[in-house]
């Protein structure tokens, strides 16, 4: 009965529009954020920051970027990693070539470059749908990393093509420690997630879903399909670009095209399939799953007698279990973990009643 809505009514439209209408939900979210911002940096160790929390946050953001495009606007894409690469390299080059440019501004400019590229590769969506659109975004996936490798200018003619990211400093504070990198990543992700949750509940978000669900009807209602689609590509690209910058600057500490390959694009796609299409929360659940699952599996394997499963086998088993899970989700729960969470909440609201 702790989780009850009794006595909580929205008396204004504004109150009714909130994401979390229940007081308990707002308290829970506030507590979680406070914990992540104030407590985790004190108790976390380097391993947790560098190997779990930072990649989790960055992948959540990448998932968010793709989800806006695919989950909300219904445009399929397999080019997520290419736009991440574009964002990372653009941010690096802005930072390198413009003296004294604040770090966050570099990220923002990197995001804008990725947004523009995403719009360009989204242009075919004005003519084609579904499968054929995948081909266009695949072209981005092959073209963009190739250009980044091919032309030395992008990596400042570094012989190995792998550049160390510049020191992370904001307003004089050095954020290069694992805890600092975590906080920087967290702040960016919270801000962008807030923005995304506003966008999907605004007119633009509704227009996206309308285009996704029934594009003829959307056009007849007066929604401009080209505008809705290209904005989806642009905003999605912006998010992916920033995710790419964070991946390079706060997670890896190096800028290199190789990490942004087709496998990464698939990883981002799996995050939104497992987490839930058309859900903001889903991206975080999906990313947590994808980061934690391999760790869980290898910990389980460690419990088995030595020599029963070697490292190579473990990786294969991981892939197989993963593939099976993706198929299971696509068939059994196309709305992903976010949907399971929703059902759980709905039960909790009625508890102890059964229905």
């Amino acid at each position: 009965m702790l989780y009850t809505e009794a006595g909580q009514f929205s008396t204004t439209y504004r109150a009714d529009r909130r994401v979390f209408r229940l007081r308990q939900d707002r308290i829970a979210l506030g507590t979680l954020l406070a914990f992540a911002v104030a407590v985790v940096p004190l108790i976390g160790n380097d391993y947790w920051f560098s190997a779990i929390l930072i990649p989790f946050l960055v992948l959540s953001l990448a998932g968010l970027g793709l989800n806006l495009l695919t989950g909300y606007a219904g445009q399929l894409s397999l080019g997520s990693a290419a736009f991440m690469a574009a964002g990372a390299f653009a941010a690096y080059n802005f930072n390198l070539r413009i003296e004294g440019l604040p770090l966050l501004v570099s990220f923002g400019l990197g995001g804008l470059v990725a947004a523009l590229l995403s719009i360009v590769f989204g242009l075919p969506s004005l003519r084609i749908k579904g499968f054929y659109l995948i081909v266009s975004t695949l072209a981005a996936q092959f073209l963009i990393p190739w250009v980044l490798v091919k032309f030395g200018w992008f990596s400042n003619f570094n012989a190995s093509g792998v550049i160390t990211a510049p020191p992370l400093e904001i307003a004089g504070y050095d954020l290069s420690s694992p805890g600092g990198r975590y906080l920087l990543t967290l702040a960016v992700v919270i801000a962008l997630a807030w923005l995304a949750s506003n966008i999907v509940r605004s007119e633009l978000g509704r227009n996206w879903m309308a285009v996704r669900d029934m594009d003829t009807a959307a056009a007849v209602i007066g929604i401009s399909l080209p505008k809705a689609k290209l904005l989806a590509f642009g905003i999605s690209g912006f998010y992916l670009g920033i995710a790419g910058s964070l991946w390079a600057f706060t997670y890896l500490g190096t800028v290199e095209p190789h990490g942004f390959d087709l496998a990464r694009s698939f990883q981002v796609l799996f995050i939104i399939i497992i987490g839930g299409m058309g859900s903001i929360l889903g991206n975080f659940l999906g990313a947590a799953f994808i980061v934690l699952f391999p760790l869980l599996l290898s910990n389980l394997a460690a419990l088995l007698p030595v020599g029963l499963i070697d490292a190579g086998q473990l990786e294969n088993i991981q892939k197989m279990v993963f593939g099976a899970l993706i198929i299971a989700f696509l068939i059994r729960e196309p709305d992903g973990l976010a949907r399971l969470w929703q059902q759980f909440r709905a039960r909790a609201r009625r508890w102890p009643l059964r229905y």
Partner: protein, 265 residues
């Protein structure tokens, strides 16, 4: 086909079709159709299956482009409409096969119907600055009026795909009405409904017409309903207009009787 333009139009003409012909490859869906719809009337389009009724609605709001003819709406003559332009000029519609946004709630569907009434930009809305919040309240309040008018309040937060067929039809009408249209095109709004549901829907259509002064063009197979609620009936058969006039007059028309009784000519 005897006359080109309905002679009975005393009131101002809102919509006028002139010599419209439409074909798909070799299939002639519409052949040389002309008629006028007066402002404020309920006009019914009837005819057997495949007569070209839906195609004609699609021509009126620009989903299909006729090869020949012109469409005059509210004084503006065009070779053909475009869906976006038609919506901006105040034409809203429902579809024969429900075309709702299935993954969205009833409220969101209705709000989407009002998307053209927005002034604030998406950036203002995303950052919740400027006029965005005030406008949100206003949009919501207008949407609630429509939801109340069509008695669908209990399902406000329900995802549309989960509603029964009859209610979906009503939500689709709500979405169209939310746009505050001048002309409402309804493609078989009562298809597949039982008698009680049909009665409700007829009531809603008449109320919309009376209260908001909305001009309605509707397609309906139930002749009883058509005769009961319309001011003007246009009959199509094999893509041609075979009758056009007040309901009583059309009812007596020999060609119409033939088309409906199946005596092919």
């Amino acid at each position: 086909m005897t006359e080109v333009v309905a002679p009975t139009t005393r009131a101002e003409t809102l919509l006028q079709l002139d010599g419209i012909s439409l074909s798909f490859g070799g299939v002639k869906a519409i052949t040389d159709i002309s008629f006028a719809v007066a402002r404020g009337e309920i006009c019914a389009l009837i005819g057997p299956n495949g007569a070209g009724k839906s195609s004609l609605l699609n021509v009126i709001n620009g989903v299909y482009r006729p090869q020949v003819g012109s469409v005059t709406f509210d004084g503006e003559v065009r070779r053909h409409m475009r869906p976006h332009h038609a919506a901006q000029r105040g034409i809203a519609r429902t579809f024969q096969n429900i075309a709702l946004f299935k993954g969205m709630t009833v409220l969101d569907n209705v709000l989407t119907g009002r998307n053209l009434k927005r002034r604030s930009t998406w950036v203002e809305q995303a950052l919740r600055i400027g006029r965005a919040e005030r406008e949100d309240d206003e949009q919501r309040s207008r949407a609630e009026d429509v939801i109340e008018f069509l008695h669908i309040q209990p399902w406000r937060e329900t995802v549309v795909g989960k509603l029964p067929y009859g209610l979906q039809k009503r939500v689709e009408l709500a979405r169209a009405l939310a746009a505050e249209p001048t002309l409402l095109l309804l493609d078989e709004p009562m298809a597949g409904m039982n008698a009680a549901e049909k009665r409700d829907m007829s009531r809603f259509i008449v109320d919309i017409n009376r209260e908001y002064g909305t001009t309605v063009v509707l397609i309906e197979h139930d002749i009883g309903v058509v005769m009961g609620i319309s001011d003007h009936v246009v009959v199509l058969d094999y893509g041609r207009k075979i009758a056009d006039g007040p309901p009583e007059e059309v009812r007596r028309n020999a060609e119409v009787i033939a088309a409906y009784l199946g005596t092919r000519h």
